[in-house]
């Protein structure tokens, strides 16, 4: 029976977890990116996503390599450094029924790709946009990225002089409709956030601190496992509830907050400390600002707006995939040419 080993257990679409895997990872052992890849696999498996319905995009970097290591049955495009968003934007128009995952690094997104990162949010492209944020350029051997904290010293690189980019704050400031932060050392939260992001109809920015064990894992570095473990401050305990699933657990009144997603699923937030309302943009910005001041790694669903139309809502496209339209539907009729000629002067 397929259900015997956990590996072999099938989900509702009759796939085992290994149907969601990719090629063996060539990243370093212990790299945060590997652990995120596992959670992508787990999330897709648990959500019963059909891999052929997913399409993957990435820039260049260790992080951007990782789409090779999950969902081997999905199309993918490992593009150019910093330019995943435009590649994804164009491609997603091909068949808007596909689910898109964009994978990027902090260098990829916050340095060379900053402009595209900002603009893909303006357009609200439905895309699970994951930034595997390690404060360095892994693949080019450890230079500071734009998210490195000011004053960080690395062996070969000296001391970082410039102020860090806060990817989550940038996303909120730029009207992203789903912004979360998490930590590769908190796999459960990562997984639940990925599920929630898949249900979001618009851009979902996931800023995931993902330690680089080769170049930036010193205890005092803000992107290390140790620092993350010690300083993580979750806004809430977060779980994703698929559409129409009965929940049995009982909670105290006021302790829970549900965000209803477009597809009927819920993001269930269980209060941890003080109240936090992820639909209040100003509050989100304040929370991030305060966390930075207090040297906390704030994680959870930071901001969400489920009402803004997605990019594809703005274009009046047929239900059928554009890339399947037959020639007769994309070439105007022979008669029309005379009308056009008549317009020419």
């Amino acid at each position: 029976m397929a259900g015997k080993s956990p590996q072999g257990k099938v989900n509702l679409v009759n796939l085992t977890k290994s149907d969601y895997r990719g090629a063996p990872s060539t990243l370093c052992q212990g790299c945060g990116h590997n652990s995120i890849a596992s959670q992508i696999i787990a999330a897709c498996y648990e959500m019963n996503i059909i891999p052929e319905n997913v399409v993957k995009f990435s820039g260049i970097g260790c992080s951007s390599k990782s789409p090779t290591y999950f969902l081997g049955r999905s199309f993918g495009f490992n593009g150019l450094h910093g330019r995943m968003p435009p590649l994804a934007t164009g491609a997603m128009f091909g068949d808007t029924s596909l689910l898109g995952i964009g994978l990027s690094g902090d260098g990829d997104t916050a340095s060379i790709g900053m402009g595209h990162f900002k603009h893909v949010m303006r357009r609200n492209l439905p895309l699970v946009y994951i930034v595997e944020n390690n404060g360095v350029y892994g693949l080019t051997k450890g230079q500071f990225s734009a998210t490195a904290e000011i004053g960080l010293s690395l062996k070969k690189q000296g001391t970082n002089l410039y102020m860090p980019v806060d990817i989550a704050a940038e996303a909120v400031a730029s009207n992203a409709t789903f912004v979360a932060r998490s930590f590769a050392g908190d796999p459960k939260q990562v997984k639940e956030l990925i599920k929630a992001a898949f249900s979001h109809k618009g851009i979902a920015i996931l800023d995931i601190i993902s330690p680089c064990v080769s170049f930036n894992n010193r205890e005092d570095s803000h992107h290390s496992y140790k620092w993350g473990k010690l300083h993580e401050s979750a806004l809430h305990e977060l779980s994703y509830v698929p559409p129409k699933e009965e929940i049995m657990v009982e909670y105290e009144k006021g302790e829970l907050k549900d965000v209803e997603m477009h597809d009927g699923s819920l993001i269930r937030l269980r209060k941890l400390g003080k109240d936090y309302d992820p639909t209040d943009r100003a509050a989100a910005l304040r929370a991030l600002e305060e966390a930075n001041k207090n040297q906390e790694l704030l994680t959870g669903l930071i901001y969400i707006d489920t009402s803004h139309p997605s990019l594809f809502d703005m274009y009046d496209l047929p239900d059928e995939a554009l890339n399947r339209l037959t020639p007769d539907r994309i070439r105007p009729t022979k008669e029309s040419i005379d009308k056009i000629n008549a317009l020419m002067f």
Binding site: N78, G79, G90, G94, R324, P327, P332, M344, F345
Partner: protein
């Protein structure tokens, strides 16, 4: 008023010396003053009189208040190129009055707004002052429209003096204002008023007259950007990403205008297209590549600076074999250069675009019809060859109004190249590899996202990959793949538009040219022939060169390669392609931002032949 030095007293004598349907009219004005409507009205009415005509706008890189010229060439023989001579000048701009005056040929006619108080220093021309302000004040127009209407004054006076048909003017205005009565009436009223004033107050002293012909019957008039946009629409373009830049913007703006008109899905009434204005050219080409990869017919349009920015992405498309079309409406570079002046200076950049070894397919339209034709053909080619295809247009072709035979409906069905869908994969006997050259033509088969067949997916990348799209750093795999791309480029030689031998007199010497200079060159060839110099002429329409090019170059002894840039870029590519006969090629270049003229070409060739 000055008089012509040589003047016939006898009316019939004068009629004999009349110059009919063969002269240029230049309007000197400031931009942003609405003169464009007046100029187009003149152009359109002459066209509607059946007389071949073309219009060229020489404008500054700002929005309002700087000198602008509009030159209308009337040519009974149908020549459309710029001429260096100005027979009629309409001077509306005090700042350039003297320059405009000096540009006039002896015997030319100067119309000028009489509030310009410059001295007229020539007496070999005919001068017509125009009481623009007075006539405008006689019209009952709202203050904010006065400037616009002022420009209609010269339309009326010119019409009266050279014989533009008022009925055609009305038609032209009707077309321009899309039948809206108020502006038509106001403008046509001004034209008539000014015409009346001219008929009552001016004596025809110059020799330039219009006479109706039937040479524009069935012709249209358009600019290359509009035509390119329409061609793409008939080519089934589905995705367009662009960033504004002069002189390319109007291509995308025309798409925005015509797509909703022509491309609602016949089945569902929905849009079968999407147009995205992007944050920059990097994103523009990136989205187009994404879309092309995902199986959409996709394109972007830009000019030189944008092409520069597209370099890295284009090499990705070359290497990952993604179809897309890139329009380069060339302007003067390097750098920002002269954004409102024409050039053919992006040839080597586009051909070699990208680091490493890259060679791209380039198409060179030289007319309105070819902009249309290459508009749709390029989309076929890109998908057939799975590679970027550039269309190298230029400002002169892209923005100016050219008379042309009408657009003709594509004569071949849409060719989508080697795309495999679910059922194709199902049928396939051998294993499918994204970069496997099954047919021996260097072109592999591809699948696109959305294909749900479990074997369809592959991971595209710009790094080394084997025939099955797996990552590879193997030296042999790399070089074999690069050689296959080379083979594909050779396959392209059979598919790209062939050159056209525009003049074949079995001459010893020949011209090779391409793009918008064609019109001046054709005229020059005719002039040279009259002067006893026979010269053959082949017009290139694409890169890579095809066997027809080889045949032509082998057969001639001296080949003038004429182009609008400094370094003779096409000449360089010819030399690279034909090293054995490299010394046959003589580079002839013109690089000042102004369109080539037949006169310049004739002189350049006569000069070199004399040596």
């Amino acid at each position: 008023m000055n008089k012509l030095e040589v003047k016939e007293s006898d009316e019939s004598m004068k009629a004999m010396r009349e110059i009919v349907n063969d002269f240029s009219i230049t309007v000197g004005t400031v931009n942003g003053s609405g003169s464009q409507t007046s100029n187009l009205t003149i152009l359109r009415s002459i066209f509607k009189m059946g007389i071949p005509v073309s219009g060229k706008n020489i404008f500054p890189s700002n929005i309002q208040g700087l000198p602008t010229w509009y030159t209308i060439r009337v040519s009974k023989d149908g020549y459309l190129a710029r001429r260096e001579e100005h027979e009629i000048v309409i001077a509306m701009n005090p700042v350039t009055f003297n320059q405009d005056l000096n540009d006039l040929v002896p015997g030319g006619a100067l119309f000028y707004a009489d509030h310009i108080k410059e001295e007229i220093t020539r007496d070999d021309i005919v001068v017509y002052p125009m009481p623009v302000k007075q006539l405008v004040s006689e019209m009952n127009v709202p203050g904010n429209l006065k400037d616009y209407v002022a420009n209609m004054v010269y339309v009326g006076i010119l019409a009266e003096m050279i014989g533009i048909d008022y009925g055609k003017i009305e038609k032209a205005l009707d077309f321009h204002f899309k039948g809206k009565k108020a502006p038509i009436d106001m403008n046509f009223g001004t034209v008539k008023l000014a015409g009346k004033w001219a008929s009552e107050n001016l004596n025809k002293e110059d020799l330039f007259v219009l006479e109706p012909m039937d040479k524009t019957d069935g012709f249209i008039m358009s600019d290359g950007n509009t035509s390119g946009a329409l061609g793409s629409i008939y080519g089934g373009v589905e995705f367009v990403s662009w960033y504004p830049i002069t002189p390319a913007s109007s291509l995308a703006e025309s798409l925005n205008y015509f797509l909703p008109m022509l491309r609602k899905d016949p089945k569902t009434g929905k849009n079968t297209f999407a147009v995205v204005q992007t944050e920059d050219e990097l994103a523009a080409v990136g989205m187009a590549i994404g879309a092309g990869w995902a199986g959409l017919r996709s394109m972007t349009s830009t000019s030189g600076p944008g092409i520069s920015l597209m370099s890295e992405f284009t090499s990705l498309a070359y290497y990952s074999e993604v179809p897309l079309v890139i329009w380069d409406v060339q302007r003067m570079g390097p750098s920002t250069g002269l954004p409102t002046r024409t050039s053919q200076g992006d040839i080597n950049q586009a051909y070699f675009l990208g680091h490493g070894d890259t060679k791209h397919i380039l198409l060179f339209p030289s007319s309105i019809r070819e902009c249309f034709e290459f508009g749709w053909k390029s989309l076929d080619l890109a998908e057939q060859l799975q590679t970027p295809v550039f269309i190298i247009s230029d400002l002169d072709l892209g923005l100016n109004q050219w008379m042309s035979e009408p657009f003709t409906y594509p004569d071949t069905p849409i060719k989508r190249g080697k795309v495999l869908w679910e059922e194709d994969l199902e049928k396939l006997k051998q294993p499918w590899g994204r970069y496997l050259d099954i047919d021996g033509d260097g072109i592999p088969y591809r699948t696109v996202p959305g294909n749900r067949h479990p074997k369809s997916a592959y991971f595209a990348r710009g790094t080394g990959h084997d025939e099955f799209a797996n990552y590879s750093e193997d030296p042999a795999v790399w070089s074999e793949n690069m050689e296959r791309l080379n083979k594909k480029f050779d396959t392209a030689r059979q598919l790209v538009p062939k050159p056209i031998v525009e003049n074949d007199d079995n001459a010893d010497i020949a011209i090779i040219a391409f793009g918008s200079t064609h019109h001046a060159i054709k005229e020059a060839v005719d002039i040279l022939k009259k002067d006893g110099v026979t010269i053959d002429y082949m017009r290139l329409r694409s890169l890579p060169f095809t066997k027809e090019v080889s045949e032509f170059v082998m057969k001639h002894n001296r080949i003038y390669v004429i182009e609008m840039n400094r370094d003779g870029q096409m000449n360089q590519l010819l030399v690279i392609e034909y090293p054995e006969i490299a010394s046959k090629f003589i580079s002839v270049t013109h690089n000042d931002g102004m369109q080539l003229t037949a006169k310049w070409i004739v002189n350049a060739i006569m000069d070199k032949e004399a040596k």
